[in-house]
Assembly symmetry: C2
Homo-oligomer: 233 residues x 2
């Protein structure tokens, strides 16, 4: 009986190697969407729910890392042991990330808006007849800016694509100077926004591709962190 | 002791008059924001959380009405006794509402997007350098269209404003042929989107204005329905 209990406990606990494999390491994660206001009422956003990033933050903390999570507006609570910084816009996320890049591993899962309305109205815009052209301007490309200045950090990005998934993902890996990119086709069932599962392919800077079957996001998180640990200098 | 208990129960129960005041009546409520897609990933939306509309639906059902709730994407569960129809876009909400207007009271709390992107890309739009003009086109004005065809229905709209609140609200009441409009200044503390309270002024078609202090949304809901009952033919 007692032996059974001990065996069960050992099965539940992460492997010793895994549980301590990020001790003394600092991990930064971004998660969720950003919101880009047009006026006090309306905004541009996207379907990211933050689940993937929060799963990684939770796993990183469980593996012993000092974990910081810069999060756009989501419906999730901060995982235990994680320092969460809340932001709304891409510009706020950019500033929160660039303020401290002294991390061993940086994993950017946030779906940052590429564009924001050029002018933000201070009052609710009244509608007019007919069409309207909304002037958009580019947001800072956070992943690109971190890739440009990083030295020892392992930098991992995500590519949520709807077509030519691996091609787009590998181009992004090169352009942003990443160590690894996690590609997923958000049109695939069980891989899209809000899903509790994901279907991913890892592409590393040396060109290695590893495709996974559908997994729970907690398992995807562990696989990403395990790979990140193997890439540490 | 027993008397005390009975007194307590009587205090909790709605007044007999209130609880049955919508028996045999049909009430339609719209709630929440709409989402207007740019592509499979990005969309335009607003800060509506649906709390006000869901509170009205819940109160209408409790008052004995056959209650239909046409709801944009929100984080709330359907109130008990309410038939909920889920929609995403303004066009979908328009169709769901116009398909059946045989109601005694129609209360439109939804924050319907006035505009949608003119073209919806079937694949994720890749970003380009520099600025971008997003072509927007007008969505159907659901409140206006219902106001145009209504006969005996009591039609109630909301005006969530950030300036000249009563002026904008009264203009909307006239333009949309409403029986009553509920005006609120979303910049006021305790009256904005996502709040559990609201600070409202009722304006009826005969020009009567009734301003309320800050109330919980359940109490605002009851006040609206009580006023709606008094306006029934």
């Amino acid at each position: 009986q007692i032996v059974d209990e001990i065996v069960k406990l050992m099965e539940k606990a992460p492997a010793a190697e895994e549980s301590g494999s990020l001790s003394g390491r600092r991990v930064l994660i971004t998660a969720g969407p950003t919101r880009e206001p047009l006026d006090p009422v309306r905004y541009l956003t996207n379907h990211s729910t933050g689940k993937m990033g929060y799963a990684i933050a939770s796993a990183a903390a469980a593996m012993g890392a000092e974990t910081k999570l810069v999060s756009g507006p989501v419906e999730l609570g901060a995982p235990s042991g994680v320092t969460r910084i809340d932001v709304e816009t891409a510009q706020e996320m950019f500033e929160a990330v660039m303020s401290d890049l002294n991390f061993d591993i940086i994993i950017m899962t946030a779906a940052v808006a590429d564009y924001r309305p050029k002018a933000v109205a201070s009052q609710k815009i009244k509608k007019v007849e007919g069409d309207l052209a909304l002037e958009l301007t580019r947001n800072p490309d956070i992943l690109y800016e971190v890739g440009k200045v990083k030295n020892k950090q392992i930098l991992i990005g995500f590519a949520a694509e709807t077509e030519k998934v691996l091609e787009h993902a590998e181009a992004k890996l090169r352009k942003k100077n990443l160590d690894m990119i996690v590609a997923n086709d958000v049109t695939v069932k069980g891989a899209g926004f809000g899903s509790d599962t994901n279907v991913v392919t890892f592409i590393t800077a040396d060109g290695e591709q590893t495709a996974y079957d559908q997994m729970g996001k907690a398992d995807v998180a562990k696989a990403i962190l395990k790979k990140a640990v193997s890439l540490l200098p």
